[in-house]
Amino acid sequence: MTDATANISAAKAKQAGPQDAGFGDYVQLLKPRVMSLVVFTAFAGLMVAPGSQPWFISFCAVLFIAIGGGASGALNMWYDADIDRVMKRTSTRPIPSGRVTEGEAFGLGLALSGMSVAMLGLATNWVAAGILAFTIFFYVVIYTMWLKRATPQNIVIGGAAGAFPPMIGWAAVTGGISIESVLMFSLIFMWTPPHFWALALFMKSDYHKANVPMLTVTHGRAATRRHIWVYTLLLAPLSLALSVTSIGGPVYLAAALVLNAIFLKGAWDIFKRDEDTAEADAYAVERKFFRFSLYYLFLLFVALMADVGLRQAGLSIGSW
């Protein structure tokens, strides 16, 4: 690029004020990648719940849960704009890059929060809507505003917000909370820390520049490895416990046994490694563990849905 064209591009960028943001910039505020996990787990919660409802209501329930999740993402980006500007990974987000103003993000987040909760309540029931409202409150106020910048256990707390969608999906069908939905919540809640900390080990982010206390920085990388191992140990019995509830079955039990064995082996390997060994092979074990963690959660929920499908088809085995 010549100096002249560079100057023209810079002038164009200066001209394009926040009012000229494209539609995609507003979609980016809703964190579409996080939304995909919300959509999948909420759908799984709906599918495994006892009882039935018209498919269009189920579709709307998942849609409003996803919009509620997206709204909390927009409010998170509004509040975290100061730290997003400092960190390289987040500096291209719509607010730090200047394409969307903080006020617009706040307005969009607030409007979508209200709309999604009201519409979920009208489409399904007010228990589901109440849990969605609490999820948004928890993610924005408890996590983003308060604990994210206060404790290195912030990932654990933030994980709770991501764990609510299957519970909301379950409540949308049943109108309540039960041991099954609490266990689905616990599964994602305990899965999030090892999943995220494995990423933190090989993606050296600049959280320290933004004064966000991440475990890798405050307690060191050896402590993070120990935390991954302990949380994976706690996760295994929780995920196995689902197999003895009304929604569990042989497919889920088999999947949980195999997946937990592989996950525990991966966490143990991470725990036993030191930084020099990890750096020597470019964090191969940590990367593999992180990739597998995505399959772990996805396959467990697929197995739950498979068992429900088998039961509905009249193919239950033994006491299941």
Partner: protein, 64 residues
């Protein structure tokens, strides 16, 4: 024929307006679809307070 090239800014604004329009149309479709689904769920209910009414429930013949 006028030769007019839209600037990048115009394209962005058009995209944004189109996106908002599609969202509004989608919202209308969802509210309409929900209304139909809810009505089908409560076929024997009257609209003003959504509670079952004797006047609209099927007549059951007394066997005695």
């Amino acid at each position: 024929m006028a030769i007019r090239q839209d600037s990048e800014m115009h394209q962005r604004r058009f995209g944004r307006n189109l996106g908002v329009a599609l969202c509004l149309v989608g919202f209308i479709v969802i509210v309409f679809g929900l209304t139909i689904a809810k009505i089908n769920q409560g076929a024997s209910m009257e609209a003003f307070d959504h509670t079952p009414r004797v006047s609209v429930t099927p007549i059951v013949e007394d066997s005695e």
